[in-house]
């Protein structure tokens, strides 16, 4: 569905994309995960035709980007880009009209989206008076107004509360189940783990690793991660290494990759007190995978 090959983009002297490659199959949800400035949003902007790449190719269904392919892409920007003095249906109607839909077709599409996104209860409320979560729902609905084949979501749940986030995740899952191809960016590990069929871990304008969440987690040589706070990092590191654990310093803590599953009591006993002031045990997550595979934290 979407093929990205050797994408390069510079802004002045700063290289934002440095030979990015990514293939997305029809019906997949692929998440771009990485720290700020790694090129996630720039990639999406190029896919949506908002930006031109300096080099490389983007193809949609094998066709290079053009006005024709642009109509197959729906963009849901990070901030809710909506007309605040208009009603939800009026926003949908306006954008549907820009995509050349006739009056009857527009009305049907608007009604369908209003119902599907449960916006009918807020049909008489101006967008500016809706909560952030409802605005984001409408933001998503507007991206679907022309029934695109590829949906591009830029941090779809950034800045919304937990309840709204869960509701938005449910809607995105419904779209996935309906066969929609989705590319999304996110900072949230949970979001990527729950929604994405594959995750592309990005660093410095490239995809450094890509795979399903299970595949990426399998590349971390650990069954669990012990997070230690210590008064003597060097001594604790030596001790942990002697136990056969891999140690990664991270944000003032030591992350110990445990080669086999064990309980907190076993970890504490193995450390035998020492200079360790606190210990917690975590399952291996995408964050650990990112740290292990790319050698830097996600929030870096």
């Amino acid at each position: 569905m979407l093929g990205i090959e050797g994408l390069h983009k510079r802004f002045g002297s700063q290289t934002v994309l440095d030979g990015l490659d990514l293939q997305v199959a029809r019906g997949e949800i692929v998440g771009l995960l990485g720290p700020n400035g790694c090129g996630k949003s720039t990639t999406l902007n190029i896919v949506c035709g908002l930006l031109d790449a300096d080099a490389g190719q983007v193809r949609i269904d094998g066709e290079p980007l053009s006005a024709r392919t642009a109509s197959r892409v729906g963009l849901c920007p990070q901030a809710s880009a909506l007309y605040r003095d208009l009603l939800p249906a009026e926003n949908l109607e306006f954008f549907a009209r820009l995509y050349g839909q006739g009056a009857m077709q527009r009305r049907k599409r608007v009604d369908y989206l209003m119902q599907r996104f449960e916006l009918t209860a807020h049909a008489g409320t101006r967008v500016g008076r809706l909560s952030g979560g409802w605005q984001q729902r409408l933001n998503l609905a507007v991206a679907l107004v022309h029934d695109p084949q590829l949906l591009v979501l830029d941090e779809p749940t950034a800045g919304v509360d937990v309840q709204a986030r869960l509701a938005l995740w449910g809607l995105i899952e419904e779209m996935r189940d309906g066969g929609m191809t989705i590319v999304l960016t996110t900072h949230q590990i949970q979001e990527a783990e729950r929604l994405c069929s594959r995750v592309a871990l990005m660093r410095s304008g490239r995809v450094a690793a890509v795979g399903s969440v299970t595949e990426l987690l399998a590349r971390v040589p650990a069954q669990a991660v012990a997070v230690l706070q210590t008064r003597d990092e060097a001594a604790t590191t030596r001790h942990a290494k002697a136990l056969g654990w891999s140690v990664r310093p991270h944000a003032g803590q030591l992350l110990c990759l445990l080669p086999k599953a064990c309980s907190l009591r076993e970890v504490v006993q193995a450390l035998d007190g020492g200079e360790v002031s606190s210990v917690s045990l975590q399952p291996v997550t995408l964050e650990h995978a990112y740290l292990e595979l790319l050698g830097q934290p996600l929030e870096g």
Binding site: A79, Y83, L86, Y99
Partner: protein, 257 residues
């Protein structure tokens, strides 16, 4: 192709009208300011015997300055700034909306607002005692050229300079009001010192004012206004060109943001 352009133009214009209608207070202010100016200046002119002769011309000045300048130029700047602040411009860029359709949509929306202001102001002016003496078609042509020129300038300022909505009012007051005074909007040019008159002749608003005043107050025709009309046409083309190129510049900026 043309049908798409037309439909998109109407979609943009209708959206702007709907937003203006919903922002009821804003619409009232667009009406209130020129209406009050017309009343105040009109009553001053009507009250003084020596000034009564200028009443017909004053109505044209208030329309060009207090009404169209702020609604068509200021309103266009405000529309562009709001599109950027709400990030809707990026969404429009990702849609098949043709840039020309957006531009024409704003022109159409502002022209309709201008038409309402013309009707309102001339109704007030008529009630005070002002009369319109010339060709309505010629007056309409001058007003239309002025509206296009103001919208073009609005795109120029909105795309190149104004970044936030707070700046719009300040910038309009700082640059707009002196231009209006120098354009003979509130006082006839003859009241100004010679040096000011020389500077005033560099101000395009003066030509809009003078042309409409000549038609409205003295019934001037096409041949008598050749010079002013030629200037207005050239200025209108320049403004629209400047507006289109500034809008393209804004789109380039927004794409790389």
């Amino acid at each position: 192709m043309f049908a798409t352009l037309l439909d998109q133009t109407l979609a943009v214009a209708q959206r702007i009208w709907l937003e203006q209608w919903r922002q009821g207070r804003g619409l009232i202010f667009w009406a209130l300011f020129p209406a009050l100016m017309m009343l105040l200046f009109g009553l001053v002119y009507a009250h003084n015997d020596s000034m009564r002769a200028g009443l017909d011309a004053m109505a044209a000045g208030v329309l060009m300055g207090a009404a169209l300048f702020f609604s068509c130029l200021g309103g266009t700047v405000a529309i562009l700034v709001a599109e950027r602040e709400r990030r809707t411009l990026r969404r429009l860029l990702a849609s098949p909306l043709q840039p020309l359709a957006y531009f024409l949509g704003v022109v159409l929306a502002q022209s309709a607002l201008a038409a309402m202001q013309v009707v309102m102001l001339y109704a007030i002016a008529y009630a005070i005692g002002a009369r319109y003496h010339g060709s309505i078609a010629l007056g309409a042509l001058i007003i239309l050229l002025s509206v296009f020129a103001y919208v073009g300038l609005g795109f120029f300022f909105g795309a190149r300079f104004a970044r936030r909505s707070e700046e719009v009012v300040v910038a309009l007051s700082a640059f707009g009001v002196p231009l209006l005074v120098l354009g003979g909007t509130f006082f006839p040019l003859v009241l100004m010192p010679q040096a000011m008159q020389t500077v005033a002749h560099l101000n395009p608003i003066l030509y809009m004012n003078e042309a409409l005043k000549a038609v409205a107050a003295h019934g001037a025709g096409l041949t008598e206004l050749r010079a002013e009309l030629a200037f207005l046409v050239v200025f209108c083309i320049l403004s629209l060109g400047l507006g289109v190129s500034s809008y393209r510049h804004l789109l380039r900026l927004e794409r790389s943001a």
